[in-house]
């Protein structure tokens, strides 16, 4: 069991106790106690476990922890720091990422269980496309499911976040 696997999560390098084939999700939750990414299906179908890996959204439920390699993993908890690093604003470490802030302003979450993946996926989009069109948003977010039916508010929140980020970046 003992191994020297190390992964970089939210700016810090962590030693991992789990075996290399353990899905990243269980390492994040059970070893690093990060509760943003959540188990939804274990099949990469729903997106509730999503994290960013070097800026790209991946499904932590099927990604073996060893596959993370030297890449930087960002979870929901790491979004504020990500924004602070990216923006030229004087955001405090604890200040929410514009995506998270927009989620509050638009009152997106109902049960909130899927929203980790939604915010991660939205962040991935806004890092690539500054002002996404409605079609771009729909198409990009289509890989993530929500059972409570928050899609319309997510679209509004992404547009709001895009505006904030355009000002702040």
């Amino acid at each position: 069991m003992a191994n020297t696997l190390k992964i970089k999560v939210n700016g810090r390098v962590h030693q991992v106790a789990a075996s290399p084939n353990t899905p990243l999700l269980y390492v994040l939750r059970n070893e690093l106690r990060l509760n943003g990414p959540r188990f939804g299906c274990g099949l990469a179908q729903c997106g509730s476990c999503s994290v960013l890996h070097d800026g790209k959204e991946i499904r932590a439920c099927i990604t073996p922890v060893a596959a993370v390699g030297k890449g930087a993993v960002t979870t929901l908890e790491g979004l504020p720091a990500l924004w602070k690093a990216k923006s030229r604003t004087t955001a405090k470490t604890d200040d929410l990422h514009p995506v998270q802030q927009a989620w509050i302003e638009e009152q997106v979450p109902q049960c909130g269980y899927c929203q980790n993946g939604m915010m991660i996926k939205a962040t991935e989009l806004l890092n690539k496309v500054k002002r996404p069109t409605e079609d771009q948003i729909k198409s990009h977010m289509n890989t993530h499911l929500c059972r409570c039916g928050t899609y319309p508010r997510i679209t509004k929140a992404i547009k709001r976040a895009a505006t904030t980020m355009a000002k702040g970046a």
Binding site: R38, F39, G40, Q110, C111, C148, G149, P152
Partner: protein, 757 residues
């Protein structure tokens, strides 16, 4: 917050993070006033504003006495208040309950917070179901808050030497109306002390006209934690020494009432996985391990031979089965004379409609955590029925109810699924068997495959309309299984499964929106021991199914009378609230009067619009759907949904709006694609591929009006708007194509079949 002695020990030792793995149960919720532990809502009649550290522990077993103010309201020295209620959070309603309490107490929303939920300290307000948190729970919270205010005003009057008639309250500051400087805060009056006063039920309530907070779109109190990832879902509760458990069951349920029997368990099949224990009681099998991944692996790999039943009809033969099996029949309504009405009518319409089983499909699989020790069991689950879950756990463990403490901890959206908290029961059983705390999380295939489905429904309707466009007769027959409530309890205890009551007809949505003098509604209860999947309550239980049939028939009658669908409904509606949602939905959609199906286009993609009205829990909803049908692929695209919603007095428009939007999206999903499939042996729709739900791209644009009726009591908002959605889409389909689609979900294959016929 009262958790338990053990919890409190952990808190004292600063090991909160060990307990819950993060910051999720915010410390300030139970640490107030310089770190002194406020042990929440304690205990029958005693201080919740508890002052002394450690004054906590479990001195009495709940529910606390609802006839005491202290069971509902605690005032703290910092002029804030904690409100306890028994309605748990599945749709955000607790923020609404806090608004109601704050309004009555003249506090700001920032000054109030809710007490954590558990069976020692939460008032027993019954199940959180039927969209009743605000409608039934609200008045109780309002009254208790008014009682608290009355006591506080009495204390202020005494302290300030001013009669209560000369006092007013703003943000918990009681002052002399004539001299603002003469004032005292609630916190100074009672902070940390108890009311020690009865909840008389007679304290005057604030008139609605004076509301300052209720009616405003206050942000939900749980949003920020959900956005930060710190919200205390039951899934992230971690106890010291906790094992991870998984239940081992066949993939997908077989026929209800035929329990799966264990023929053989081959433990050698998992011998390569160290540290895993197989737990068994009767036909219940689980595995536990300190390592979650190992528990998952073992549950997948463990070789269990199950008895195999091949007695289900399979979903292809379901409707034939419904018609063949012996039903128990009961009239829900039987007025006038159907035959007489039909004789007097100018047109008659007759049709059958069928709606498949549908799943709650909770997004996060059910999860429960339990620590069962001798003489004391503590269980956490997302149950919508804490007190009933406590009783189930006690029965399962064979211990007195008073030794069980059940905590509600939020799960993922469940839409009725968590009236049966099987993960918590499994956790309790496995903790007892393992002698250690156990966390059980169901797998995705278990959540999909062992769900208590929304019942499949078969409806036959004969309708008739007279020469004046009035409904002359409406004869509605519905086939449905009874909903089961105790399956989870029975299964874990190894008892024969209860067969439920009567599978009745949804009287609220079977033509009752209209004034019909010759009206019959017959429920045919399909027995639960007739080799079918298990069914229970799914969001607006039975209403979408009933309306898919009943509101299509209304449209069929309008068409028979060659009338516009809105005009026909108006002519037959008496109740002003039905009329209100009908007219408002039509207005929003810019509805232009014409006979449905009279303007069928020529192209490949045909467009149409349809309307339906229906409700649930005394709330009224009107829906217009605009759709496009691709006649080649058979795909229905719902482009725009317009909704009108009347739930009486609105507590929080933003939150009602959230529910309306969610209801519409889920309603479209159920209307178009959701279908539980099963063979003769088992359910086979076990994930999001085999049981898809509506995707982002297919989500319609939604426009809605919330009709506020301050003069009418609040009714529920979590379910009603989903009820008429499928019917509106089906009516739009007829308008677009000139053909009726009478099977739900309206999948591309069914659409193609209807268009070909």
């Amino acid at each position: 917050m009262l958790l338990s002695e053990r919890t409190i020990d952990l808190l004292d030792d600063g090991k909160l993070d060990e307990l819950i793995g993060g910051t999720e149960f915010p410390r300030e919720k139970f640490l107030k006033g310089g770190g002194a532990l406020v042990i929440g809502f304690s205990v029958v009649g005693s201080a919740l504003a508890g002052s002394a550290k450690g004054a906590s522990a479990r001195t009495a077993v709940g529910p606390p006495n609802a006839a005491l103010i202290d069971s509902w309201v605690a005032i703290h020295a910092d002029n804030t208040a904690t409100i306890a209620f028994g309605k748990i959070d599945i749709t955000g309603a607790p923020t609404g309950l806090l608004m109601i309490a704050a309004e009555e107490l003249d506090l700001t929303i920032q000054q109030v917070s809710w007490a954590p939920w558990n069976t020692d300290t939460s008032p027993n307000q019954g199940f959180t179901a039927g969209s009743n948190s605000i409608s039934a729970g609200g008045p109780q919270v309002r009254q208790a808050a008014a009682e608290a205010r009355a006591v506080l005003l009495g204390l202020a009057a005494k302290q300030l030497g001013i009669p209560t008639s000369k006092l007013r309250v703003r943000a918990g500051v009681v002052s002399n109306v004539d001299n603002e400087a003469q004032s005292v805060t609630y916190g100074a009056l009672l902070g940390g002390k108890t009311f020690s006063a009865p909840n008389t039920g007679r304290a005057p309530l604030k008139p609605v006209s004076q509301y300052r907070l209720v009616g405003k779109s206050v942000k939900r109190k749980d949003t920020e934690a959900k956005v930060r990832g710190t919200h205390p879902y039951v899934h992230q509760l971690r106890l010291p020494g906790m094992l991870h458990g998984r239940v081992v069951r066949p993939r997908g349920q077989g026929p209800y009432s035929v329990a799966d029997k264990v023929v053989a368990v081959d433990e050698s099949s998992i011998k390569n996985i160290k540290g895993v224990k197989v737990l068994r009681r009767g036909d219940f099998i689980g595995v536990v391990s300190a390592n979650e991944q190992d528990a998952i692996q073992a549950a997948t790999q463990l070789k269990v031979t199950w008895s195999q039943s091949k007695t289900m009809p399979g979903n292809g033969n379901l409707w034939k089965h419904f018609r063949t099996v012996k039903t128990t029949d009961r009239f829900a309504r039987n007025i006038g004379s159907i035959d007489g009405g039909i004789r007097s009518a100018s047109r008659i319409s007759e049709a059958s409609y069928s709606i498949s089983y549908q799943a709650h499909a909770s997004f996060g699989p059910s999860c429960g955590v339990a620590d069962v020790k001798s003489g004391k069991a503590e269980v956490w689950g997302a149950s919508q029925a804490m007190y009933s879950s406590r009783a189930s756990v006690a029965g399962l463990l064979g211990v007195p109810e008073a030794t069980v403490l059940f905590h509600f901890a939020e799960g993922s959206g469940c839409y009725g699924r968590n009236l049966q908290d099987d993960a918590a029961l499994a956790a309790a059983l496995m903790s007892q068997l393992a002698g250690a705390p156990v966390r059980v999380q169901l797998t995705r295939d278990q959540e999909h495959g062992w769900d208590f489905y929304g019942p499949a429904t078969l409806v036959d309707i004969r309708g008739a309309v007279d020469a004046n466009g009035k409904i002359a007769a409406y004869d509605y027959v519905s086939y449905q299984q009874p909903w089961v409530f105790n399956e989870a309890t029975d299964y874990h205890a190894g008892r024969p499964l209860s067969l439920g009551g009567f599978g009745g007809a949804d009287i609220e949505n079977a033509g009752s929106q209209y004034k019909i003098t010759n009206h019959r509604v017959l429920g045919r209860s399909v027995p639960n021991d007739s080799q079918l999947p298990k069914v229970a309550y799914l969001r607006a239980p039975a209403a979408p199914q009933a309306l898919f049939a009943s509101e299509q028939m209304i449209d069929e009658l309008a068409w028979a009378a060659q009338m516009d669908s809105v005009a026909f409904r108006k002519l037959n509606i008496e109740n002003f609230r039905w009329l209100g949602v009908l007219e408002e939905a039509a207005r929003l959609a810019g509805w232009e009067a014409r006979v449905a199906g009279s303007a069928v286009g020529k192209g490949r993609v045909k467009k149409g619009r349809g309307i339906a009205i229906g409700g649930f829990a005394s709330t009224f909803a009107g829906i217009v759907a605009e759709i496009a049908v691709d006649t080649v692929t058979g795909k229905i695209r719902v482009e725009h949904v317009y909704a009108a919603h009347d739930c009486g007095l609105i507590i929080n428009p933003n939150m009602v709006g959230q529910q309306v939007e969610g209801c519409v999206v889920q309603g479209v999903s159920r209307a178009l694609i959701e279908e539980v499939k099963f063979t003769k042996s088992r359910v086979t729709t076990l994930d999001w591929e085999s049981y898809p739900i509506l995707r982002y791209k297919d989500s319609p644009e939604i426009t809605y009006t919330l009709l506020n009726r301050p003069e009418l009591r609040s009714s529920g908002a979590g379910e009603p708007a989903t009820a008429p959605v499928a019917a509106a889409i089906a009516n739009a389909f007829f308008d677009a194509t000139g053909k009726r689609i009478r099977t739900m979900p309206m999948t591309p294959a069914r659409v193609r079949a209807v268009l070909k016929a």
